[in-house]
Amino acid sequence: MNTEKQLYTVSIYTENNIGLLNRISAIFQRRHINIESLNTSPSEIEGVSRFTIVVYMDEVGMKKIIGQIDKQVEVIKAFYHTEEETIYQVSGLFKIKSDLLFEERQIQNIIKESNARIVTVNKDFFVLEKSGKREELKDLYEKLSVFGIMQYTRSGRIAVTKDEMKISKMLQAFNNN
């Protein structure tokens, strides 16, 4: 098994329950593993939530953590995947002074080249949205920071896997037991 550290995307299907986040994050905390990013959202199944957590660690440890997450009563199933096994995106918002949009021609080129989208513009500021890989956002951030960014934020990773998850089947099996 791989003992080299790498980024893993952890996908956890759960009941929508107060306090479950606490239980899941504690499992990482116990082993002194830093969570790189975390996102919670509804999933493709009604009433089932999905956690997407990115961690940097080795596979041996990853497997043990997945087992410990999986055994939480309200976790339906936990998976881990490598970068190659998932399609993933992050999203970033940049708030920038409106004057710059007109004064600095370069900015317009940057927006166009980066496939960023203007969400809103008013007389004081405009907001750019960019979805993509983390590196692409980093790149855009570096280019824009030359002109000054009023606010910047980046979302946690969201990911879908190339493989099937079979959660509905699992739920059916639970119900038939």
Partner: protein, 577 residues
């Protein structure tokens, strides 16, 4: 027609009744077959206590002297009976005082339901009087926990709590119920929980893994079994015995597995681990197939993992998939319930006797006997040993007593030397190593099994951590036999200071009170033994007593527990001196 309607309405009325949340809590406990609960009242749980007063003919509430005592008593009750132990406390400090017992139950897989009162829901998060975030605090140490803020949720949450606590790998569950939920009224009905859709307590056993395991066991020349508490929790004692006897496999146990097979069984080769027996530790590193059943390869069992059973194929029978490959990489994992999977395995096994291999265990036992056991059980020096006290208890109880221990040297000695004829007879804090566990756990054990002799064995350190529970013993007239092995030291820590910290005895010497006087202060008859000739008559008097009895035995101050695997060393580097 009309009478039919009336009957129907009456039927519905029987099913649902408008009652308070607090009454519902007590009624739910009765529905779950709870007869004894342990706890301590306080502001946020008072409505429930009011109902307990009304239902005292159905549920006996035991007032412990500290909430920690309530959890340990509930654990003792659960461990000896196999039923779910129940502890109850108020919010804030009442709830936080439960934490040590909950952590202990979590790591030792003890089924327990804890109910805590909570401030009214409109006060949550406001730092109200006696408010504490017990859900947040208890999350990492409970199998499941849940806060209830509406009375109508009480029945379903309590039903789920009992189901989760006892199913699969058991564990503690905490339910936190706000005071307004206890006060408000709703239409009560109760239905037991039989499944939770996201929870799979017993993984399905794959017959192929059982067949592979059988093949390995049949081919093995030097097989060895190490069983744990999973055998007891899974009620698989008979299946294990049948397996051991059919395949003729020398079998050892972890501390929590003790008593699943009688200590006198010829193929029972003793305890593994840090202070376990010489033979099973050494031969762990010589066996060709290691069959682990319902145990979790704790570091106190394995010593250094880098040198643990590297030569052996490892088969792991386990109910909790997260335990497989957690510490030791297994070759074959048989998931599922111990009883069911051993039943699948049995017909596939060939009859065998491995007598040459078994002889090796006997030879090593002979070495351990000469170097250690003889001196512990039949000392020639003046001072009393802990071992000879255990020998005397064995003799006078015929090995039929339930032994409840605390944590430290006396615990290791008790587990090494106690005779166990009956399963569920070793009640001890294994995983957490909670000093103060013994005395309150013995109360719970005695109340769950009043016909059994329950002997609490503690050291002078741990005994004083929960000594106030003598009050509970007195009030409940619980006939617990209390033995304190007094060496005026925190003995295990002192042993480590002697061996690894050049005898710098930092804060391990105890200046102790008059223990007999304290027991007598609680109207418990007590005796102190300092000489060998006093021991047998004193134990006899204790065993003959119909009531609780306190026996202090002053033992050699600086005796050490051997054999010992030093921390981080290999099991085969076990030291005899």
């Amino acid at each position: 027609m009309e009478t039919q309607t009336i009957t129907k309405i009456q039927e519905i009325k029987q099913i649902t009744e408008r009652i308070s949340g607090s009454e519902a809590i007590v009624r739910c406990l009765i529905e779950e077959g709870v007869d004894i609960i342990y706890g301590y009242p306080g502001g946020a749980i008072m409505p429930v206590y009011d109902e307990l007063f009304k239902f005292q003919d159905k549920i006996h509430h035991v007032l412990t002297r500290h909430e920690q005592g309530a959890t340990h008593a509930a654990q003792g009750y659960a461990r000896i009976s196999g039923k779910v132990g129940v502890a109850i406390a108020t919010s804030g400090p009442g709830a936080t005082n439960l934490i040590t017992g909950i952590a202990d139950a979590q790591i030792d897989s003890t089924p327990m339901v804890c109910i805590t009162g909570q401030v009214a829901s409109h006060l949550l998060g406001s730092d109200a009087f006696q408010e504490t975030d017990i859900i947040g605090i208890s999350s990492p140490i409970t199998k499941w926990n849940c806060q209830v803020t509406k009375a109508e949720d009480i029945p379903s949450v309590i039903a789920k709590a009992f189901y989760i606590a006892k199913s699969g790998r058991p564990g503690p569950v905490l339910i936190d119920i706000t005071k307004d939920a206890q006060f408000s009224h709703f239409d009560f009905s109760y239905e037991k929980c039989t499944k939770v859709r996201s929870y799979n307590p017993v993984p399905k056993t794959d017959i192929q893994t059982v067949e592979e395991a059988a093949k390995l066991i049949n081919q093995a020349k030097k097989p060895m079994i190490v069983w744990g508490q999973g055998v007891i929790l899974g009620k698989a004692e008979n299946q294990l015995k049948a397996l051991v006897e059919k395949a003729g496999i020398p079998s050892a146990w972890t501390i929590l597995g003790a008593s699943a097979i009688p200590t006198s069984h010829p193929l029972n080769v003793g305890m593994v681990g840090m202070h376990g027996n010489y033979a099973p530790n050494i031969l762990t590193n010589e066996c060709d197939v290691l069959i682990a059943i319902g145990m979790r390869f704790d570091d106190r069992v394995t010593g250094s993992l880098n040198t643990y059973a590297k030569q052996a194929k490892i088969i792991h029978f386990e109910i909790d998939p997260a335990e497989v490959d957690k510490n030791v990489k297994t070759d074959i994992a048989v998931l599922g319930d111990a009883k069911a999977s051993l039943e699948m395995l049995l017909p596939l096994l060939k009859e065998n006797s491995h007598s040459d291999w078994h002889q090796k265990f006997k030879d090593l036992y002979a070495i351990e006997y000469e170097k250690v056991i003889k001196h512990d059980l039949y000392p020639t020096k003046e001072g009393l040993t802990m071992g000879e006290v255990l020998k005397e208890i064995n003799l006078q109880s015929n090995g039929n007593a339930a032994i409840v221990t605390d944590v430290g040297q006396h615990q290791m000695i008790a587990c090494r030397y106690a005779d166990f004829n009956i399963t569920k007879s070793n009640i001890t804090s294994g995983g957490l190593g909670t000093m103060g566990f013994g005395l309150p756990a013995a109360i719970g054990a005695k109340m769950a099994a009043p016909d059994r002799e329950v002997v609490s064995i503690s050291g002078d350190g741990g005994y004083q951590m929960t000594i106030q529970e003598l009050g509970t013993i007195f009030q409940q007239k619980a006939a617990v036999k209390i033995v304190v092995l007094n060496n005026d030291f925190l003995g295990m820590v002192r042993q480590w200071q002697q061996l690894f910290f050049e005898k710098r005895y930092a804060s391990t010497e105890m200046v102790n009170p008059n223990f007999v006087a304290i027991a007598e202060g609680y109207y418990i008859k007590g005796k102190k033994v300092t000489k060998r000739e006093e021991l047998a008559p004193a134990v006899a008097e204790m065993m003959a007593s119909k009531d609780a009895y306190f026996l202090e035995v002053c033992v050699e101050k600086e005796d050490n527990v051997f054999p010992m695997i030093p921390s981080g060393a290999s099991v085969s580097d076990i030291r005899l001196e």
